[in-house]
């Protein structure tokens, strides 16, 4: 349950990055021959999008790792209540 909550948090952060990158009426940052009266700098900022891609990948791999760990724990603690697990495994 907590891992899902963490996933929601990281999705929130990703959405925030996209929000900062985007502007109203901005174009996708792809170099192209634009015609007419378009402002040449009206692009969405590509940098946050690029870096958040890294963060998404990292977040995903951490999710996967944690879920594997939790699956292993679940064999002996089927309810997966953190309080119970904590009591068992802290000295």
């Amino acid at each position: 349950m907590k891992i899902i909550a963490m996933d929601v948090m990281s999705t929130g952060v990703i959405a925030y990055y996209v929000l900062i990158a985007s502007k109203d009426g901005a174009f996708t940052p792809i170099l192209s021959q634009l015609t007419g009266d378009v402002d040449p700098i009206a692009y969405a900022d590509p940098v946050p999008q690029a870096v958040i891609l890294t963060a998404i990948v990292i977040g995903f791999s951490i999710q996967a790792l944690m879920l594997v760990g939790v699956m292993k724990l679940a064999q002996d603690n089927p309810t997966l209540e953190t309080h119970a697990i904590e009591k068992n495994y802290t000295p």
Binding site: K2, I3, M6, M9, S10, V13, Y16, Y17, I20, V47, P48, A50, V51, T54, A55, I58, G59, S61, I62, L65, M66, G69, V70, K72, L73, D76, N77, T82, I85, E86, N88, Y89, T90, P91
Partner: protein
């Protein structure tokens, strides 16, 4: 120099994966990387001007290598080498060494990074690699400890990530230089992320359980260098900006005091060492100018103490009072404890003197109390009986030779410290500490509540820290 730096930083990751392909060579490759890092750090000490690199355009990765980084890199290299020696004959699989070297490489990356995004990536790699190392025995307990670590550090890093984008928004660049242009919430978020990751003050209370319940070599490397990965960006920022410096100093003092109080009252050897790590991190942050040297000595001494504690006949101080320790082991233990208490002739002394010198007026009294507390806590180790049977292996002694030898050699870095008043002060501190230990601490057994170390509270406390930091930045 530029090419050397890039080759060096890339090589450890490359070798980390190669180890998988060539399992029989794993130990040798790992050791070669550690030695390479060590020599790189030594070359760096010789360079007069810091090296700055800007890879890939304006938005790319920026690196900065200077004296401060050299100290941290050297610590990293020595501790990794010692851990490899310690594990030499323990039959660890190639997997272990691969993770160890990837961890080593990402820590090196942090110590030379000068922009927030690269630090984030490196910190996450550290988180994953140390998760795998802690979970290496694959018992339920170790998996739980590792999960808890990964969860806390990942949440801290999410806070950090939000701060990073705010810095970017204000500067259109991720470099450290634009830190103070960012809004106060960005500064608060980044600091809370790094404090959580580095294990400082109350947000660092995940640290005792993680460090004490992992295997001996893993806790040595976690306590010796991994926590410093979170500390290093803080020290960098504190050196660059006045207003950050004052906040960092406050946290340093608070952390030094909190850690030492817990450490004095602790009855378990490994937990005591982990708690004293919290307090020593406070010492590093309390005087960022000389943090590098302090980090070096602390890294060496703490990893040697963890390796020794793993070889003691028991983990409880109460039982250790009646179980004699093998004499050479006892000597190593006492030497390390003396160094951390700041006794002359070992480099812990020079580091303490330097730190005390660069404190601000209001810090001096508190930090002296913390130093006294450290001496009290380590008196527990010094007054243990000796003369027991041999319990150690050959690899252990080569690891000790590196770490304790490093301590004695590092003494030469700051030999100006040996003035009469400087020498007398730690002696007085220790002289005061031992009677206090005998008459006050030893008879009482007080169990401090561990409520704050519970999983839920760790996350809650992190959010509280965030709010208070926000007000501190605003003020």
């Amino acid at each position: 120099m530029t090419i050397l730096t890039i080759v060096w930083i890339a090589l450890s990751f490359f070798v980390g994966f190669v180890i998988y392909l060539l399992p029989p060579l794993s130990r040798y490759l790992a050791l070669a990387i550690a030695l390479f890092s060590g020599s790189y750090a030594l070359i760096n000490f010789g360079q007069s001007s810091p090296l700055t690199l800007q890879l890939l355009d304006n938005f790319g990765v920026s690196l900065l290598v200077d004296q401060l980084s050299s100290f941290f890199i050297l610590t990293n290299a020595l501790v990794t080498a010692a851990v490899i020696f310690y594990c030499w004959n323990t039959g660890k699989k190639a997997f272990f060494y691969a993770q160890l070297i990837i961890l080593h490489g990402s820590m090196n990356a942090i110590f030379i990074c000068a922009d927030f995004m690269s630090v984030y990536v490196a910190l996450e790699v550290i988180g994953i690699a140390s998760f795998l190392l802690v979970a290496y025995p694959r018992t339920n307990k170790s998996i739980w400890v590792a999960l808890r670590y990964l969860f806390v550090s990942n949440v801290a890093m999410l806070f950090y990530l939000i701060g990073t984008i705010l810095v970017y928004q204000a500067n259109h660049s991720f470099s450290f230089a634009g830190f103070t242009n960012a809004p106060p919430e960005a500064i608060a978020l980044i600091i809370v992320g790094l404090l959580g990751k580095g294990g400082v003050f109350v947000s660092g209370l995940w640290l005792p359980l993680t460090h004490s319940e992992s295997e001996t070599p893993v806790s040595a490397i976690l306590s010796g260098v991994v926590v410093k990965a979170g500390i290093f960006p803080l020290v960098r920022c504190a050196l660059m900006f006045e207003e950050v410096d004052s906040i960092i100093r406050i946290f340093g003092v608070a952390s030094a005091l909190l850690g030492v109080i817990y450490a004095i009252l602790e009855q378990d050897t490994k937990r005591m060492l982990a708690l004293s790590t919290i307090s020593q991190l406070g010492f590093i942050l309390a005087a960022p100018e000389v943090g590098g040297f302090y980090a070096l000595t602390h890294g060496l001494v703490k990893s040697s103490l963890f390796l020794i504690a793993g070889n003691l006949p028991s983990r409880q101080f109460k039982e250790l009072q009646y179980k004699p320790i093998y004499t050479p082991l006892w000597i190593a233990l006492v030497a390390a404890s003396f160094s951390i208490s700041g006794f002359p002739l070992l480099s812990g002394f020079g580091a303490k003197v330097l730190t005390m010198k660069s404190l601000l007026g209001w810090q001096v009294i508190v930090m002296n109390i913390a130093a006294l507390g450290t001496a009290i806590a380590f008196a527990k180790f010094i007054f243990l009986p000796q003369g027991g049977e041999k319990t150690t292996k050959y690899g252990f002694w080569s690891a000790m030779a590196i770490l304790l030898g490093g301590l004695v050699v590092a003494n030469g870095v700051y030999y100006e410290a040996y003035t009469p008043e400087n020498v007398i002060k730690p002696l007085v501190t220790i002289g005061l500490a031992w009677p206090i230990y005998f008459f006050l601490i030893k008879p009482i057994i007080l169990r401090l509540p561990r409520m704050l170390e519970q999983f839920d509270h760790l996350i809650g406390v992190m959010s509280l820290m965030l709010v208070s930091l926000f007000w501190m930045v605003l003020a």
